[in-house]
């Protein structure tokens, strides 16, 4: 089954939950879909190998054919092409790769030019223990995260358990990540900021009609407003990870806390079983 870890914002502990949960399971896949800041491997420290590039197509103008008729720049809704009386310029960073400019050019003066926007990496088979890690990495200065996320998700093996670390926020990258998952764990912290962002995350899960439950991280560090909200809304509180300087210190050192605090492996396993029993699809062999 596919379980996504989301939160509506950053810094609540999504990566901590994704890494520790996947380490507590046998033979899981872990997919890091926070392609702007993939951090799972800072904790797993696996040897990673690039498996594919993510590319997109942008226009290249053949100036010798161009008559500066402006049809392409008038069509482009992203301001990625500017036509001057006898000069034409493209702005690749603004291009959404819709292909419209090539369609409207009457002179065949625009051709496709492929550029790389990111890469997908996988943990090497040399590391046989622990989860199989896939991560997407968006190149610095690139803005289109969703195609990179879509490509990471292509590596999900439907016969296994996939734990998916989602990006922060509530925009398209999150929706692309959560599309088709079986269950979503929403990580929050018990503070007014945490509650505010949790409400946004719950709204996303509801829009997508994904079963979801709450995991309260740094429990005890704030107030009880998150628990009151969950009770009022009938949302299950799945687990609480306490505010604990030992966990914070292990985090700062890049050590998954289940490795030093073994009793948590069993807790994460129980969490997984309880979700799987209720929401898992029957898996094909």
């Amino acid at each position: 089954m596919k379980i996504a870890i989301a939160s509506g914002k950053g810094g609540t502990g999504k990566t901590t939950v994704a890494v520790n949960l996947s380490l507590s399971l046998q033979d899981a896949q872990l997919l890091d879909c926070d392609v702007e800041e993939p951090n799972c491997n800072l904790f797993l420290k696996r040897e990673m190998e690039p498996i594919t590039e993510v590319t997109t197509v942008i226009p290249e103008i053949l100036e010798e054919n161009c008559t500066y008729c402006k049809k392409c720049s008038d069509f482009c809704r992203f301001n990625a092409i500017a036509t001057l009386p006898n000069k034409i310029m493209t702005f690749p960073a603004l291009c959404h790769s819709c292909g419209g400019c090539m369609m409207v050019c009457p002179e065949g003066a625009i051709q496709e030019c492929e550029i790389v926007t990111g890469i997908i990496r996988k943990s090497t088979t040399k590391d046989q223990t622990g989860p199989e890690l896939y991560e997407g990495l968006l190149d610095i200065g690139q803005t289109m995260a969703s195609p990179v996320i879509g490509k990471v998700k292509k590596y999900i093996d439907p016969t296994r358990t996939a734990i998916i670390d989602a990006p922060p926020g509530t925009a398209c990258p999150v929706l692309t990540t959560l599309e088709d998952v079986d269950y979503c764990i929403l990580v929050t912290e018990p503070t007014p900021f945490g509650l505010h962002d949790l409400k946004l995350a719950v709204e996303v899960a509801r829009v997508l009609n994904i079963p979801h439950g709450i995991l309260i991280n740094r429990s005890g560090s704030g107030d009880d407003s998150v628990e009151k909200y969950c009770a009022d809304e009938g949302i299950e509180v799945l687990m609480k990870i306490p505010q604990d300087t030992r966990i914070a210190r292990l985090y700062s050192e890049g050590i998954p806390f289940v490795e030093e605090m073994e009793e948590w492996k069993e807790k994460f396993m129980q969490l997984y079983i309880s979700i799987k029993d209720r929401y898992g699809r029957s898996e094909k062999a």
């Binding site: 914002k9 950053g10 810094g11 800041e37 951090n39 809704r77 369609m103 922060p168 107030d223």
Partner: protein
């Protein structure tokens, strides 16, 4: 008038706590929350909304069933897989490019206006504030950030303000790039964890790429003093000033629950250090031309 952005490369490092604290120290400033995906600054500054503006992202395709002949040319030509087989539009995937409208032989497709958020112009106890809300699932957050900045800059001109303070979004993508464009200085908040260090390296590449001068502040420094040392050394090697350090403390959470900035909440090591960081940032801002 100067523009200061507070960014971190990731969430949860304390950007909003620090932005709110600095807002209560800066004089004659405009405050803008550019974290349009998950804005939090309003929870501390409790703005009173004066004016609202509808935000329109990209237009979105609309197919008239009556005219559609089911030829599927729109589906075949859409590079975003935004048209379902029943010829309805997946609004999350539609980028508003207009290719489907162009290829439709029946003129069954029109691009229609798509409201995707709201921008608010408000007053707070520390001066005017501009903030926004993006509707769930809407992209165009870079464009909404630009709209927030435009409103903030025009307020700053009207009020003859000395400074615009932007609470930045997390990450290194489109909204962050939109936020830092035109800034005089970026205050990068980091924390001494392996992920904090990694994100710091990435965000510095972004500020470098766009030529924005940067200065660093280390939050929760005492959670791992070795890593703090490492950040200080690497900043020195890269010629980036560390403006100061803030301790790991329950004070930001306690202040947050009381809807106060850390400066208002109490005099303590945290607020003293933040005051000193603000003095350093102010001096750096004054030094920029």
């Amino acid at each position: 008038m100067k523009q200061l952005v507070i960014i971190s490369g990731k969430g949860g490092t304390g950007k909003t706590t620090i932005t709110a604290g600095i807002s209560s120290l800066a004089e004659n400033s405009i405050i803008a929350d550019c974290d349009v995906d998950a804005p939090n600054l309003h929870l501390l500054l409790e703005p009173e909304v004066i004016e609202t503006f509808d935000f329109h992202g990209m237009d979105i395709a609309n197919i008239d069933d009556e005219k559609c002949s089911g030829c599927n040319l729109c589906i075949e030509n859409c590079n975003f897989n935004a048209i379902f087989t029943d010829h309805s539009i997946n609004s999350c995937k539609c980028e508003g490019c207009g290719v489907c409208e162009y290829v439709c032989p029946e003129n069954a497709i029109t691009m229609i206006d798509n409201p995707s958020g709201t921008v608010f112009s408000s007053t707070t106890r520390y001066g005017p504030m501009v903030h926004a809300e993006l509707f769930i699932g809407e992209e165009a957050s870079g464009k909404l950030v630009t709209s927030v900045k435009e409103h903030a800059l025009s307020l700053a001109r009207e009020n003859d303000s000395d400074l615009v303070i932007y609470d930045g979004p997390p990450g290194t993508g489109c909204p962050v790039i939109a936020t830092i464009t035109g800034a005089d200085l970026a205050l990068i908040v980091t924390e001494p964890s392996v992920s904090g260090i990694h994100d710091l390296e990435r965000i510095i590449k972004v500020t470098d790429h766009f030529g924005i001068p940067a200065i660093v502040c280390i939050n929760k420094y005492n959670i791992n003093e070795e890593n703090t040392k490492q950040i200080e050394i690497s900043c020195e090697e890269n010629g980036i000033m560390v403006a100061g350090k803030l301790p790991y403390d329950t004070i930001p959470n306690r202040a947050m629950i009381g809807k106060k900035t850390v400066i208002e909440y109490a005099d303590n090591e945290f607020s003293d250090n933040l005051k000193s960081i603000w003095r350093t940032v102010k001096a750096e801002l004054d030094a920029t031309s």
